[in-house]
């Protein structure tokens, strides 16, 4: 069920409650484990309240559509676990700004979706509560870290969902699950209430079964927020209104080295996608983005450094899990030992990256590489309006294949981290498949030019 279809059904007289019951039933039919919490009673009560709002004639752009929320976004009164033992029982006392905006727009907050612990991972296998499976092939990963949200839309449980993208955590699972996703420009969507992984990279992003659905959610969540000092003080051009605008005259740079690096079926699907853009009036150009090779290592120093700092607050003193030790240091150690291995690996890596004697070689150098990469993007955008590259080098890999090999896991992000480091808007669109496993094409745009991306996504779909 797409968001568009849902809205049409409600306009046609359907009740939010009926739709909610149908959505809940559809979840019951599969074993994807997309949700960490799906509170039937609460969802139906909210559905009734939305029916009442609609009956009163309230203007609700999302018309009670069921929208799933990644479980690192605070939803008042609901557990927000971040896929971690440390927050297993933690109930958020407030709504994230994006959640609040969805409520106001009449969304039915559906379930809290599974994720890699604190959004650290590329397969959702790092969740403390078990992996989510790919709706196209349950023996494979849905991608990550927003695997639950991608699978929920891919399986058709809900009309749309929210994820968070730090180094590709929305784009890569969208590619693996065959859905659309748009990571907005850093600062375009408020991070308030998003439990931080790497603050300079994190961005909340929508998944949808159609480009139109993605645009509708984007329009609701984008825009300045006084509670987030990094949110951009600029007006938002409606994504929905931009659709149908076409791509005539746009210049798109095909990042050729990435296509060469990708698996053959992925490269082939990308070449087809490029042709489709060309026949819609786009002027194609091959482009080799400088410093692209630095992106992955820079990302895996900067993100862990920020993560080590952001996760320092989980000490058992004020909320969440507390494992008593003999003294304060022991309590810290015992409590924080309950992080999963990947989170611990990144905290250790990040701590080193910031430590005296290492910081210059690690964090500072990575920051310089980031600056160089941003310059490379800026100069690329002198000659093109958008960049086209694969979302991921492969299709969804089998569950368990990479869990013992962090570097192989990190490699799944190689094409998505560059746009994250540069804070640029980037999308993933399903553009083909390899034996039924979806392939995603990634578009990257200039800062705050999300509408250009959406128009091109529409042509790709």
């Amino acid at each position: 069920m797409t968001l568009e279809e849902h809205i049409a059904a409600i306009v046609g007289g359907a009740k939010v409650r009926e739709r909610a019951e149908a959505a809940l039933a559809s979840v019951g039919d599969d074993d994807l484990d997309a949700y960490l919490e799906l509170d039937r009673e609460r969802i139906l009560a909210d559905a009734d309240a939305l029916d009442a709002r609609l009956a009163r004639g309230e203007e609700l752009p999302l018309a009670g559509a069921p929208i799933a929320i990644k479980d690192n976004l605070c939803q008042r009164g609901t557990r927000t676990t971040c896929g971690s033992r440390l927050l297993e029982e933690w109930v958020a006392p407030y709504d994230a700004t994006v959640v609040e905006r969805l409520r106001e727009a009449g969304a039915l907050l559906f379930g809290k979706t599974n994720l890699d612990e604190f959004a650290m991972g590329s397969s959702t296998e790092n969740s403390a509560f078990g992996p989510t499976k790919n709706p196209k092939d349950p023996s494979r990963v849905p991608g990550g870290s927003s695997g639950g949200s991608a699978a929920a839309v891919g399986a058709g449980h809900c009309a749309a969902s929210l994820g968070s993208d730090t180094g590709g955590s929305v784009r890569q699972p969208a590619a693996y699950c065959g859905v659309h996703a748009l990571k907005p420009t850093y600062g375009r969507v408020s991070r308030f209430g998003l439990v931080a992984f790497a603050s300079s990279l994190d961005q909340v992003a929508p998944f949808g079964a159609t480009v139109d659905d993605v645009a509708r959610i984007y329009d609701v969540i984008a825009g300045p927020d006084p509670r987030d000092a990094t949110s951009a003080e600029r007006a938002v051009e409606s994504g929905v209104n931009a659709l149908g605008g076409g791509v005539e005259g746009l210049r798109v740079g095909v990042v050729r080295p990435c296509l060469e690096q990708a698996d053959a079926p992925v490269a082939a699907a990308l070449a087809d996608a490029a042709k489709r853009l060309e026949s819609a009036g786009v002027q194609l150009k091959d482009i080799a983005l400088e410093h692209l090779d630095l992106a992955l290592s820079a990302y895996y120093l900067i993100a862990p450094a920020e993560a080590a700092s952001n996760l320092a607050r989980f000490d058992g003193a004020r909320y969440g899990l507390r494992v008593e030790g003999d003294d304060l240091a022991e309590t810290y150690r015992a409590t924080r030992s309950r992080f999963g291995p990947e989170v611990i690996r990144r905290i250790v890596l990040g701590t080193y990256a910031l430590s005296e004697g290492y910081a210059d070689e690690a964090y500072v150098r990575a920051s310089r590489a980031r600056t160089a990469l941003i310059r490379a993007f800026t100069s690329a955008f002198d000659s093109v309006d958008l960049l086209l590259l694969p979302t991921a080098p492969t299709v969804a890999f089998p569950l368990g294949e990479r869990t013992g090999d962090p570097l192989a896991m990190y490699a799944a992000d190689v094409f998505t981290v560059p746009a994250s480091l540069a804070g640029l808007p980037a999308s993933s669109s399903p553009v083909g498949d390899d034996g039924g496993l979806p392939i995603g094409a990634q578009l990257v745009g200039r800062p705050f030019e999300e509408t250009t991306l959406l128009r091109a996504m529409e042509v790709l779909s």
Partner: protein, 472 residues
């Protein structure tokens, strides 16, 4: 061994006098029940984000301007990481490489003490040890502080004390800090080392922490310098360490601390964009800055006040403002106002933080002083009226009328009263005329008594002397 000199540097943590915290809307009021002025942001809840307090930026820039600092056009917040229960996020938001204020200086007596910087940071929460438990009150966590770091240019404990008093007065005068030492609004750590006089290199320094009064800072520094001299004198080495002041033994004592040097893993806080201050905004803030103590001092000296008057009336900014308001409300000369305020008003003024509560409003005191300046009442009566004004809240003129305290100034009437007294005391008149001129006080007193205090004592004395010296 050649003579040693002390090298002292001070780090002051001055709480900025804002209503709300540095990164959230919680109040900063002191003394509330524990953990009642907290929110997800200052408790470091998951998903909460800091948003800088514009007023704190303004006060920091105001302090920087008053201290002659270079105001950072693009400064930045950094995270300083360590684990402790009073630090809810596991890091303190502070400023490392790009502080909001750099350099600067403070005039202390005849010397000018250079400053390294004056940067913004959030305060930690307060740990309270109850039995074997530690409890944490987060009300103070996130309160805005300005850390003002002097260069190691102070040379004696007395100078360090004077620096602190001068700095506190300056910050209070410009409304940046309430100067309340007991409530911890103005805290000081002192670094001290010794070196042979005339040399440039620094000795190993000791940091003295948590000293809660200016006098104790001086005493602690004196004790620490004596200790270091003794250590060096006996051929020992001063260790780099942190010590505390023990009031009981009047000595500095080692504080329990980590052996290893702390690595705070500073890095720019990604939640907070660089603070960019445009010239226009800084200018607007500068325009709103109250008069600085140095300018006020010049103005007061020009108006005829003495150094002593300036010291007494300028000891608290609200008292100084009150004095200026009284001067504006009266025709009396500033010097005479200063005398009256010091002798008859200051004793009744109470201060609380940046507020002062004088016994009567400035306009009311001005009215009273006008009566005194016009000789309508005399000084003794003024004192009495002031007391009644404070008690009853009634104006000076009305009280003088009600109490019949207006002076008798009619020369004829005064002369008649004097004649009556002289006639009634022939023996005393005779003594006076035999040379006991001190008797004049007796006659004046008698006249004042019969006039019920209304006669002008000066006029009475003149009339009595004239009549007594008249040939018989």
């Amino acid at each position: 061994m050649s003579a040693l000199e002390a090298v002292i540097g001070l780090e002051v943590h001055a709480q900025l006098a804002t209503r709300t915290k540095l990164f959230c809307g919680c109040e900063t009021r002191y003394g509330a029940s524990p953990n009642t002025q907290v929110c997800p942001v200052c408790l470091g809840y998951p998903g909460a984000l800091p948003v800088p307090n514009e007023r704190a930026l303004e006060l920091a820039v105001r302090a920087g301007s008053a201290l002659g600092c270079t105001i950072g056009r693009a400064s930045r917040f950094d995270r300083k990481s360590y684990f402790y229960p009073d630090l809810p996020k596991g890091y303190q938001i502070s400023q490392l490489d790009l502080p909001i204020n750099e350099g600067g200086e403070l005039r202390v007596g005849e010397r000018t003490i250079g400053l390294e910087r004056a940067h913004l940071e959030e305060d930690a929460a307060k740990s309270m040890h109850v039995g074997d438990q530690t409890r944490v009150d987060f009300n103070r966590g996130g309160v805005p502080l300005l850390e003002i770091v002097s260069k190691p240019e102070l040379r004696s404990p007395a100078e360090a004390e004077a620096y602190l008093r001068e700095l506190r007065l300056l910050l209070m005068t410009i409304g940046v800090n309430d100067g309340n030492l007991e409530e911890g609004s103005f805290r000081c750590d002192a670094n001290v080392s010794l070196r042979p006089k005339g040399t440039e290199a620094f000795g190993e320094r000791v940091e003295i922490k948590n000293v809660n009064s200016f006098r104790f800072v001086r005493l602690a520094l004196e004790a620490e310098i004596a200790r270091q001299k003794a250590v060096l004198g006996s051929g020992g080495v001063v260790l780099r360490e942190t010590r505390g002041w023990d009031e009981g033994s009047q000595k500095t004592v080692p504080m329990r601390g980590k052996e290893a040097a702390a690595d705070y893993r500073y890095f720019p806080d990604p939640d907070l964009p660089a603070i960019t201050l445009e010239e226009a905004r800084i200018e607007q803030w500068r325009a709103a800055m109250p008069e600085l103590p140095a300018a006020r001092r010049e103005r007061w000296l020009a108006a005829g006040l003495t150094d002593y008057d300036v010291g007494v009336l300028g000891q608290h900014p609200a008292v100084a403002a009150y004095f200026d308001a009284v001067c504006a409300a009266t025709t009396m000369r500033a010097k005479k106002v200063a005398n009256f305020v010091q002798s008859d008003v200051l004793g009744h003024v109470t201060t609380d933080g940046l507020e002062a509560s004088p016994p009567v409003p400035a306009e009311a005191l001005g009215e009273l002083l006008n009566l005194l300046a016009a000789d309508t009442i005399h000084a003794q009566a003024a004192k009495q009226v002031l007391g009644l004004m404070a008690e009853e809240g009634i104006g000076a003129k009305a009280l003088v009328e009600r109490e019949g305290l207006a002076q008798e100034t009619d020369a004829g009437a005064i002369e008649a009263s004097v004649r009556a007294v002289l006639d009634a005391h022939p023996d005393q008149v005779a003594q006076y005329r035999e040379g006991k001129t001190k008797m004049i006080g007796f006659f004046v007193g008698q006249v004042m008594k019969t006039s019920k205090g209304k006669a002008n004592p000066k006029a009475v004395k003149e009339a009595a002397e004239r009549l007594l010296n008249e040939p018989e």
